[in-house]
């Protein structure tokens, strides 16, 4: 724009400025704004595309087709009748005629066939006679849009196999324990481990983090000891220095790579404090966990990891409480603790909880420090105490994706979906809690 129209003599009164120059100036400025708007929109769209690709990838792997081949077709055994419509006696007859005598004898020695329930017998027939075997795995995309080709391929390689739809994510997958057979493998152990670990981490890091945040925000500049004697002066000085040092370094601590915390946890919690973290000093003597590689160690390590973030977010929430409220409380003769407990904390709580849950929920995906402190990758027993061996979802996923068989890739994708559902529900709880507490406090 020429500077002309801004000169005093070119001031227009009583009408909007007009003319070609003015029009161009305005539309030019608007255009620049539009371009920036477009760029911002593009970066948002880019993010959404990446997310969609991620979702596609996971869903594509977690569902799809499998080629199943049976040692004996069900129809051949039962003359065309479905297995679950047969009576108990007929099932026993099938077993007696089709099983090898040694296997049959073993089964009978465990418990006579006649005493077993129908469901049990059907399971045995499935496992021992029909023996379904997954011979090929296809992604959802292939299964839906490339069906003729994969059917042809399957006929070629395994003439007796049939192609069926398979959702790797199923109720069985959630409630089954770990198994070396991908079709039977489940993630119950890992889900329990993750939930257990998160709860314990929350229990440890919440009081510590909020406590530190309160101290740093409300008490740091206090002088708790008598300034009139040298010892008191010296102690006050020392406390303030330490607090200052910690405060200055919290941001640095939150940026330390998580594997470093893993190494620290290995040295301190697994090794040095083994008596405590293995539960030995509490008389908990499990021969399989006679070392510190327990949920307790993992939770302590995770707490170290999330503590800086918990402190920072709690500090921010405490800082957001208007100082006029503190002054009002002090002005009525409240002590510092009364003010903190009755005014500052209730008002900061929504923010503290949201920040804390969000930062702890990030620990849900941490794998590196847990590998370092020795979490199990293959474990079939559920964690049942603070001192159990354990595994967690990301570790299980990592383990499965590094296997060569395609079935493991598929169940890894299913486990990722479970992990994401857990993460999202935790975050949803955080948001709901914040809104609930806010609406309770500032209701009119």
């Amino acid at each position: 724009m020429s500077s002309e129209s801004l000169r005093p003599e070119s001031r227009s009164v009583g009408r909007l400025p007009e003319g070609e120059a003015v029009r161009q100036n305005v539309s030019g400025r608007q255009r620049r704004g539009k371009v920036w708007e477009g760029i911002l929109l593009a970066s948002t769209v880019f993010g959404i595309i990446i997310l969609l690709m991620l979702a596609y990838n996971i869903v594509n792997d977690a569902f799809g087709g499998i080629g199943v081949q049976y040692a004996v077709e069900e129809e051949e055994l039962t003359d065309g009748r479905p297995l679950d419509q047969l009576s108990q006696a007929e099932l026993v007859a099938i077993l007696e005629t089709n099983l090898r005598s040694r296997v049959l004898q073993n089964l009978k020695r465990e418990r006579p066939l006649a005493e077993r329930s129908r469901e049990e017998l059907i399971d045995i027939i499935n496992d021992e006679i029909i023996k379904p075997e997954v011979v090929a795995v296809y992604t959802l995309n292939e299964f839906l849009f490339n069906r003729p080709a994969i059917e042809a391929e399957l006929r070629e390689s395994h003439p007796r196999a049939e192609l069926i739809f398979k959702s790797w994510l199923s109720w069985d997958f959630i409630v089954n324990p770990m198994s070396s057979k991908p079709v039977e493998a489940g993630i119950r152990t890992a889900i329990l481990g993750t939930v257990f670990l998160l709860l314990l981490t929350m229990l440890i890091s919440f009081p510590l983090g909020v406590g530190a945040a309160i101290y740093l925000e409300e008490y740091k500049s206090d002088k708790p000891f008598d300034e009139r004697v040298p010892a008191g002066r010296w102690t006050n000085n020392a406390i303030q220095r330490v607090a200052g040092l910690i405060e200055a370094n919290i941001y640095n601590l939150s940026g330390v790579p998580s594997i470093i915390y893993g190494i620290l946890g290995l040295a301190i919690f697994v090794r040095a404090l083994e008596q405590f973290t293995s539960g030995a000093i509490f008389g908990y003597a499990d021969p399989t966990t006679a070392n510190g590689r327990t949920i307790m160690s993992a939770a302590l390590t995770m707490s170290l990891l999330v503590l800086p973030v918990v402190i920072i977010s709690s500090q921010e929430a405490i800082r957001a409480v208007p100082s006029s409220l503190r002054q009002a409380s002090y002005g009525l003769g409240a002590t510092k603790w009364q003010t903190v407990w009755k005014i500052v904390l209730p008002n900061a709580l929504p923010g503290i909880l949201t920040g804390t849950i969000l930062s702890i929920s990030r620990a849900i995906g941490e794998t590196a420090p847990l590998i370092v402190i020795g979490a199990s990758t293959f474990i079939v027993t559920d964690p049942d105490s603070l001192f159990s061996k354990f595994t967690v979802l990301p570790l299980q996923i990592y383990n499965w994706t590094s296997r060569p068989q395609e079935e493991f890739r598929a169940i890894a994708a299913a486990a990722i979906i479970i992990l994401l559902v857990l993460l999202l529900s935790l975050n949803a709880v955080a948001i709901w809690l914040r809104n609930y507490l806010r609406s309770k406090r500032v209701s009119t």
Partner: protein, 266 residues
């Protein structure tokens, strides 16, 4: 409630050579004056002259500012408030405060009033507390407006009502002195008028010290007026003139006071 033995002085608060520092900076220098009981004393002066700092030194609110310290004496019925044995918590219960911006707690109206007595260790039945809340709200001329909605949030009230709620909250702990730091600066003229009327009523039971930028307000409500001004050289606030209000406004003895109250600067 504890009963304090009162020295039978005419003055509620006296300062002797009071200097207030923020770190190395002296914000107020050599203030010596006395505040009479059951009167309204106005502190006036241009921005930055230290009048709020002086006010806040009366109940040790300056203690909350890191690096602030007070030298000299602030006597409450002869007792130095800055004596090492005096706990600021006890001072503030006796000398209450109302702030510039209404700052009710985000609690119900009832709990706003009950907060003060509760933190001071009040023990009594629910009925007694109800009575105490009512008395405080009546005292602050707010009872009729809120008696049907005591469980609503204090923040749901209008600005003027919120400020009266803050006054009610202050008198609920039965202080002797109420400090008011520009209590009407964020209120409309009608609410301001109500607060001023309230102050004149409260004068019968309480000693009131008010900081105000509004000269008419000082002239309307106060009995005594103290005029502060910032020394141009060391930027410290000092007390220029202190006298009965009519004298300060109509016949000031200092030229600077006359210039200020007549609106020629400030």
């Amino acid at each position: 409630m504890t009963t304090t033995t009162m020295n039978d002085t005419k003055y509620a608060i006296e300062t002797r050579n009071m200097n207030i520092y923020y770190g190395a900076f002296r914000a107020v220098k050599d203030v010596t004056f006395s505040i009479e009981r059951n009167k309204i004393t106005a502190l006036i002066g241009p921005s930055g002259c230290g009048k709020s700092t002086v006010l806040r030194s009366f109940n040790r609110m300056n203690d909350l500012i890191p690096g602030a310290r007070t030298e000299g004496e602030v006597l409450y019925h002869g007792q130095n408030l800055y004596d090492p044995d005096v706990d600021a918590v006890q001072v503030r219960r006796q000398i209450g405060m109302v702030f510039q911006k209404p700052n009710p707690f985000p609690k119900s109206i009832y709990d706003n009033i009950a907060y003060g007595p509760r933190i001071n260790g009040w023990k009594g039945s629910k009925a007694e507390m109800d009575e105490l809340v009512e008395r405080a709200l009546v005292g602050a001329a707010l009872w009729d407006e809120v008696k049907d909605k005591l469980n609503q949030s204090g923040l749901s009230l209008s600005g003027g009502q919120q400020q009266r709620l803050c006054i009610a909250r202050a008198i609920a702990v039965q202080p002797e002195v109420i400090l008011m730091d520009e209590p009407c600066s964020s209120l409309d003229p009608i609410s301001t008028l109500k607060i001023e009327e309230l102050m004149l009523e409260l004068r019968q039971r309480y000693t009131i010290v008010i900081v105000t930028h509004n000269m008419q307000q000082a002239a309307r409500v106060s009995d005594y007026t103290a005029f502060f001004l910032m020394d141009k050289e060391d930027r410290a606030g000092e007390l220029i003139e202190y006298d009965v209000t009519s004298k300060v406004f109509q016949n000031p003895s200092d030229k600077r006071t006359e210039e200020y109250v007549s609106g020629r600067f400030g």
